[in-house]
């Protein structure tokens, strides 16, 4: 490859591959995230009671809240490891832009953590008694919503770099930012349930993700540069 003309797309993809490789070596983490989400979803019927009519009212919200809460503890790791082992210093002393690496990190987190949850989401949907025609929309909306959670999550992970008790702080900071995803995401499935078009909510969800797709690499890069300079 020519030294002067770096191929950013190639670098981007190779960094995604690296992050996926790292995460695939700790598959246990991914299995435990799945278990966590399953447990959250099981807890709701335990609390509400086995009556299907009651579950129908909350099922979409439960699925989304389960997804969000299960993902949040994993977000910190997106940056934390590479910050402590000095990899981010190496990134900063190499020609690859930090923004590209951070975008690669959020996308690889989406691939390795969120996609498995989404593939298994029909199981959760069946447990809560969702109609069959809702499942494709659930998968679609959760994929998009999950991606924007990763974009916001990397900002959150960068915010708490070096903080005391960062793992407790992260949800407090992230959850208010995530509220629109919950509203639009649940909205998609609620609309399907009552026979309306899911598209308005879906478009809003996509628009929200696009906003964060644009701003998240830049904001988290600012934060990483501050953290590296310490």
């Amino acid at each position: 490859m020519n030294n002067k003309e770096l191929n950013w797309i190639y670098l981007f993809i190779s960094h995604i591959k690296r992050d996926i490789l790292i995460n695939s070596r700790s598959l246990f983490d991914i299995v435990s995230i799945f278990g966590f989400m399953l447990l959250i979803i099981i807890l709701f019927p335990m609390g509400i009671g086995p009556i299907q009519e009651k579950l129908d009212i909350v099922s979409n919200a439960v699925l989304w809240i389960g997804l969000i809460i299960a993902i949040i503890p994993s977000l910190e790791k997106m940056i934390q490891r590479d910050y402590t082992n000095g990899w981010l210093d190496q990134i900063a002393t190499s020609p690859i832009p930090l923004e590209i690496v951070l975008l690669a990190k959020s996308i690889s987190h989406w691939i390795i953590v969120i996609i498995p949850l989404i593939i298994t989401s029909p199981i959760f949907a069946i447990l809560l008694g969702l109609e069959f025609n809702q499942i494709p929309w659930l998968i679609l909306s959760m994929s998009i919503g999950g991606l924007s959670i990763c974009f916001i999550g990397i900002i959150g992970a960068a915010l708490i770099l070096g903080a005391r008790r960062g793992n407790i702080l992260l949800p407090v900071i992230i959850l208010p930012l995530i509220i629109p995803i919950l509203i639009f995401g649940v909205g998609v499935n609620e609309a399907i349930k009552i026979g309306l078009s899911p598209l308005p909510n879906l478009f809003l969800l996509i628009a929200f993700s696009l906003i964060y797709l644009v701003i998240s690499p830049f904001i988290s890069a600012i934060l990483i540069r501050i953290a590296i300079s310490r």
């Binding site: 490859m1 690296r18 590479d82 082992n85 210093d89 190496q90 020609p95 310490r230």
Partner: protein, 214 residues
């Protein structure tokens, strides 16, 4: 020659250097000496562009090195005691990932040669989590070998001899003298009194502090 002009460097709210004026010799090995906390590492991190300058400038041949920061960064290798190795990857995978972000050619032969240069070919499929501190340091130092077939002018090494045994110390000496022969510049921050190679310059921060009132 690196000219440090009126350099102000802060780390957090602590002022590490204020109005530092000094020269660092290049195209040779310069040992940056100083007590713990004297700012050796901070100086290296500043030259590597990691810690921002609050005031002043660093010039090489009259040109501010950070005016074309990307060009500058391409030509240097920075290794400190954090190494930048991922526990979950093997020694070889780590090196490969590093060469990729540098944008260099990643052929198998060069990787093996680089690992051999620090005596790591036996351990190349070890996970970093299985490696001792000395092996980790050597895995990080293997990167230096890539300067022999890519455009690299500067090595910034923070305590490179930490945790190295005698035989790897000799291997490092080898690499250093080979790079000096190629007119490369090496800056090493160390409280190690022993010189790594025969001819070297020193840059004593403690002395500067006494004379310069920085």
């Amino acid at each position: 020659m690196l000219n440090l002009k009126n350099l102000n460097i802060h780390r957090g709210s602590r002022i590490v250097f204020s109005r530092l004026n000094a020269e660092i010799k290049t195209s040779t090995l310069t040992l940056i000496k100083g007590k713990n906390g004297s700012g050796k590492s901070t100086l290296l991190r500043t030259i590597a562009g990691l810690t921002p300058i609050e005031g002043g400038e660093i010039n090489q041949n009259g040109v501010n090195i950070f005016h074309a920061k990307e060009q500058w960064i391409r030509k240097l290798i920075f290794i400190d005691n954090k190494n930048g190795l991922s526990d979950e990857l093997t020694v070889k995978e780590n090196l490969l990932a590093w060469v990729k972000i540098k944008g260099w050619d990643t052929n198998e032969k060069n990787l093996i040669l680089a690992l051999e240069s620090v005596g790591m070919q036996k351990y190349m499929n070890f996970y970093i989590s299985q490696c001792s501190d000395g092996l980790k340091k050597r895995a990080a130092l293997a990167r230096l070998y890539f300067s022999f077939f890519n455009e690299v002018d500067f090595w910034l090494l923070d305590e490179p001899t930490n945790a190295l045994d005698h035989s790897s110390y000799l291997l490092l000496q080898n690499l250093l003298s080979k790079f000096i022969k190629m007119k490369g510049s090496i800056l090493i921050a160390s409280h190690d009194k022993e010189s790594l190679i025969k001819n070297y310059e020193t840059f004593d921060i403690d002395k500067l502090r006494n004379t310069n009132t920085i």
